[in-house]
Amino acid sequence: MSERPVKFRGGGFAPTARRWVGLVVFVVLIALAEIGTRSGFISSLTLPRPSDVLQTFVDLYNSGLLFTHLLPSLTRLAVGSAMGISAGMSVGILIGLFSYVRAGLIPLVAAIFPIPKIALLPLFVIWFGIDEGSKYALIALGTFTPTVVATYGAVDNVDRTLIRMGQSFGLSWASIVRKIVIPGAMPGILSGLRISLAIGIILLVAAEMLGAEYGIGAYILEAGSLYDLERLFVGVVMLSVLGVVVSALIGIVEKRLLRWRN
């Protein structure tokens, strides 16, 4: 009788945390670009040299213009997305709770969602003025719809047995919403926020390209029209970093608010 160990067939399909791998991918890609441009394998017209991009960034910082561009952009993103997200969460919760609101607003949200919001900028300029108002409105509308969809989906997914439990103990309607529905919907709402804020950053740049003196978008537009690839890349990298920072902030909020999971 032959004897052999049973072959292992399990394993895999279980993502585990691997720190630094993400960073290594960035470093390798940037190093490749640097080596490529230095050796002439990649022409400087195709891709700017990463070290030149860094130098341009340092120059920007030294000239003091970095914060002149950065602060207005951050303010616009913060104000616009705060308006859009808070309105979106409120409307999403109302849709989740009331059948009439649901029946009335879901088609409306579905109609607004696919409109490229940037196409509405001229309308917003007429309504809210060429200044900050139209930019806030654009970012607010852009973050509003994905937040609504994520929020009512999350409210729909709250465990009904918990709500029944609340009712069976005679909790008031407001208590059930505040202590069971909203905390239960929080995971879904927060993962929706990641998408909303990424859309917010895209719209921020779009709005600034169409009429702003300062801002990351204005900076990128100016660089682009001069085919100044180094500055263009400085602008783009700032946006990427902004995206990573926003995502990390949501990660921190998730860790704090959702400690009860995992």
């Binding site: 918990l162 439990m165 609340g166 208590s175 905390p183 239960g184 009860w260």
Partner: protein, 255 residues
């Protein structure tokens, strides 16, 4: 406070689940309801506690609940229904917060029920840290906290393994022996029914009708794991149910 069910009939659309159920649930006793799966046991419990409206008939409260009772009809659910984001203490506090009690009163009640269910050491644990048996103890503590007149227990031990079930049965017996409570206890497990029930109501398969009510007079604390008298009752119950269960099992589901 007693509960009287008078001619309860319940339908989902044209689908009759319960038919003409009349039953008295006396206070201070545990009334078990057994029946084949899908016979409407859980529906009956939801009707008794007012989570669903019967199609016909009435659920009546006879007499008033005791004055310190915060929630006369209180459920214990099969899946525990604990809020995962609240600690053990927080889960119990949840059902006390809407009653205008002071913080000190709430803390006193929580400490008392945690001591009675031997959970004092776990007050600050989150549900995910607890075993199934511990979670159900928390749910029992939460139910005791509102000083119910009637406990409505929906297969409370069915999600637990058999050893844990045995331990919790002993806990329930000792809780009842110290302060007798009124309970309607739905289960499909006949061993639980003969251990905990003063009266065992046997329902037929759908539409659920009362087939027989079996009384067991032996005091709860004298009943034990392999008691011949209880075994005889259990065999009797199984004989009542066997054909019904077989037929219920072979039915197509209409969902």
């Amino acid at each position: 406070m007693d509960i009287r069910l008078s001619a309860l009939t319940h339908k989902y659309d044209d689908f009759e689940v319960l038919r003409d159920i009349s039953l008295d649930i006396p206070s201070g006793k545990i009334t078990c309801i057994v029946g084949p799966s899908g016979c409407g046991k859980s529906t009956l419990l939801r009707l008794i506690g007012g989570l669903e409206r019967p199609t016909a008939g009435q659920v009546l409260q006879l007499g008033d609940p005791p004055p310190d009772c915060l929630n006369p009809l209180t459920y214990i659910f099969q899946d525990f229904a604990l809020l995962p984001w609240r600690s053990v203490r927080g889960n119990i506090a949840l059902v006390l917060e809407d009653h205008g009690l002071t913080k000190a009163q709430i803390q006193a009640i929580i400490d008392d029920v945690l001591a009675r269910t031997k959970l004092s050491d776990f007050a600050d644990a989150l549900p995910k840290q607890l075993s199934g048996g511990m979670k159900q103890r928390v749910a029992i503590a939460r139910a005791l906290a509102v000083k119910p007149a009637v406990m409505l227990m929906d297969e409370p031990l069915s999600a637990l393994d058999s050893q844990t079930r045995e331990l919790l049965m002993e806990d329930l017996v000792s809780l009842w022996s110290r302060t007798p409570f009124t309970a309607v206890y739905v289960t499909h497990n006949l061993a639980e029914a003969v251990r905990l029930g003063h009266a065992i109501v046997v329902l037929s398969r759908r539409p659920g009708q009362i087939q027989e009510i079996v009384h067991i007079d032996k005091p709860l604390e004298q009943r034990s794991h392999a008691d011949p008298e209880l075994d005889a009752k259990q065999t009797h119950l199984w004989n009542l149910m066997r054909e019904e269960a077989r037929a219920a099992d072979a039915e197509l589901l209409h969902v």
